[in-house]
Amino acid sequence: MQHLTTIKAGGSEKDYWKDLWLNRQLLWILSKRDISVRYKQTLLGLAWSVLRPLMTMSIMVFVFSLVAKLEGDPGIPYPLMVLSGLTIWTFFSNTFTQISNSILINSNLVSKVYFPRLLMPLSSVAVGFVDFVITFVIFLIFTVVSGYGLSWNIIFLPAFVILTFIISLGFGLFFAVLNVRFRDIGQLIPFIVQVGFYVCPIAYTSRLVEGQWFENIYKLNPIVGIIDGFRWCLLGDKAYFDPQSLYSTTLISLVILILSVLYFRKKENTFVDHI
């Protein structure tokens, strides 16, 4: 069959998702590029992905557990609680940051060749995912060595990873568009990530929030539910998790994703004019 393209003002909506599918090889190749570039020029290479979460965990154990005497969920060692929260949070913050910068980083492509621009944020997830897998393996080793058994809840783990992916794409796409238009957004992103770190239950458990006046507002944050759920998958029923929150988490994540994709689609044809 002949390949027919129509170019018109306002974009060719109906072919977009088809184009995206036709370009799936490019998605793969761009992902591979990001991964191999990431590890090519570093002295320690993969070791960084191992060292970073371990060092962050040590600091947090020192500050929150030894100095501030903060306690985790009863029956769960504090370091394990921190490391599990950190694992999924790092996945979120890395992918979110990379998606937000994906268009600017690929600006040389934006001005010289066409493909559905969604490929850029999508491919930028790869590096974050590889890091996540590494951190996750460290967590597993750590858990087994420390003598704390893994829970069977782990079979639900993929659901929470997918949710994390959805929410980081939801937030990331929005910021990716803004980042092209206003360059100051790039400086705002690390700050947002830092705030998020304290707003989300990483160094502490959501149990502490239960019954407080701000509990409902707190739980509107979809990442709270994801971190709680992720922990529950790995550390079992002793970890605090409110299964009811799963509904709102999923719903909010999907709504944010859909709005972001629509916004991205609306703006993607103007990227080239601002780069």
């Binding site: 002949q2 390949h3 027919l4 393209t5 129509t6 170019i7 018109k8 003002a9 306002g10 974009g11 090889q25 490019l26 190749i29 761009l30 590029r33 191999s36 570039v37 090519k40 020029q41 690929n106 040389n108 492509l109 934006v110 001005s111 010289k112 060749v113 066409y114 493909f115 238009r181 206003f182 360059r183 100051d184 957004i185 044809n269 080239v272 004019d273 601002h274 780069i275």
Partner: protein
């Protein structure tokens, strides 16, 4: 059968005069602008005046048949690149629509998306995929690409260690193995050495001979004439003429070649100068031959310069500089110094045909007193273009050099090998 049909294509840009630099706006700008607006109570009309519409393309209609090789000519800013960007789907038109039948590949740059940290091998796959080749296609032509680029030894070296020549060769080799039904090529020939340009043109001739459709933007009219059967002529965003290449190129040349060939002032009081000299006129008179209406490399050029001398008995000589458009001086010639009475003085200078290369040139004229004091210097006095002309040559790249003199250069057989 038409493979590309464009109807009423326009592209509008908004030029914001408020912004001082053309760079990316920041959130801060918006905040400060808003604050300004609130406090200065500017009325809306003023705001409007600061934003100006600019039509990079306006109501462009055309249809291209399968196998057509279209050359696109026009000045810088005529809309050629915008058209290519719209056809390559990098930017979308403000109005109108284009229907394209067949796989389209556009080559706006050599080595798009090359990553300096990746090896040559990795970049071949990356760049190929970016240009729209399937992995199987790249694998199939991998050896041919490597061979064409001549980088076998450096396949596993990061391209950041490549020389710029190798980089460009590899980039073009990949593009050359694209197999689209429609190929769009921007001025990529302007980069790289002569050898590379030759390769590019050769490859493009292959494309055009294999019955595929080609769109080609270039300032190199010789290349366009050699490769393209039809041409589009753009001016200020409009497609003002289309048709057979020879016709379009002649039309284009007759319009470009009158840039600033004459300047004159009839009123001595308002003429440029000072109380010692006043300029009357400066003009370039080409000696057209064979009914030509534009200057090409064969055309002899006469310069006539007239000025009023206002000081009795001044010792005056003229000095003329010829520069390339980019500012390199090609030569400087001067007259003998002579004493002149008050009144009109005329200087003439002739540049023979078959001396200057094709290109754009700038002339400046200096009036000098006592061979040392500059009385008046008329900078960028005249600007003119010389077009290319070649006979019995099958090579179409840009002719190198500032000048292209016809020297006595001949070859002949001086000895025969005798077979016995």
């Amino acid at each position: 059968m038409p493979v590309i049909v464009a109807e009423n294509i326009s592209k509008k840009y908004i030029i914001d005069h408020q912004r001082k630099s053309g760079g990316p706006s920041s959130f801060r700008d918006i905040v400060s602008d808003t604050v300004d607006k609130v406090f200065s109570r500017k009325n809306k009309k003023d705001d409007f005046a600061e934003k100006e519409e600019f039509w990079a393309l306006k109501d462009v209609n055309f249809s291209i048949d399968q196998g057509d090789r279209i050359g696109i000519v026009g000045h810088n800013g005529a809309g050629k690149s915008t058209l290519l960007k719209i056809l390559s789907r990098i930017t979308e038109p403000s109005t109108g629509q284009i229907k394209i039948e067949g796989r389209i590949a556009s080559l706006l740059e050599v080595g798009t998306g090359f990553h300096p940290e990746l090896t040559g091998r990795e970049n071949i796959f990356l760049n190929g995929a970016i240009l729209g080749m399937a992995k199987s296609e790249i694998k199939q032509s991998f050896d041919a690409i490597v061979d064409f680029a001549g980088v076998e030894k450096f396949l596993d070296t990061p391209v950041k260690r490549y020389s710029s020549g190798m980089y460009v060769r590899l980039g073009f080799a990949i593009a050359a193995h694209l197999n689209p039904e429609i190929l769009i090529v921007d001025e990529v020939l302007a980069v790289g050495d002569t050898e590379f340009q030759k390769k590019c043109l050769g490859k493009m001739r292959d494309v055009s001979e294999s019955g595929r459709t080609l769109l080609f933007v270039s300032h190199n009219l010789t290349a366009i004439q050699a490769l393209c059967n039809k041409s589009f002529y753009f001016e200020k965003g409009r497609l003002i003429d289309q048709g057979e290449t020879t016709h379009i190129v002649t039309n284009y040349l007759s319009k470009v070649s009158h840039k600033m060939l004459e300047k004159h002032w009839d009123d001595i009081d308002h003429a440029p100068g000072n109380d010692q000299v006043r300029i009357k006129s400066f003009k370039l008179v080409p000696e057209f031959q064979d009914n030509l209406s534009h200057i090409d490399v064969r055309t002899p050029l006469d310069f006539q310069f007239q000025f009023w001398n206002l000081e009795e008995g001044a010792n005056i000589n003229l000095s003329m500089h010829l520069y390339t458009f980019t500012g390199e001086c090609i030569f400087n010639v001067g007259t003998q110094s002579e004493a002149f009475g008050k009144g009109l003085v005329t200087g003439t200078c002739s540049i023979p045909g078959n001396f200057l290369n094709d290109g754009s040139y700038v002339v400046s004229m200096m009036i000098v007193k006592d061979t040392s004091t500059i009385l008046y210097n008329m900078e960028e006095a005249l600007i003119f273009d010389i077009e290319d002309y070649r006979e019995n040559v099958t090579w179409y790249g840009k002719w190198p050099g500032y000048i292209r003199p016809q020297l006595n250069f001949s070859i002949s057989q001086t000895e025969h090998l005798v077979n016995d």
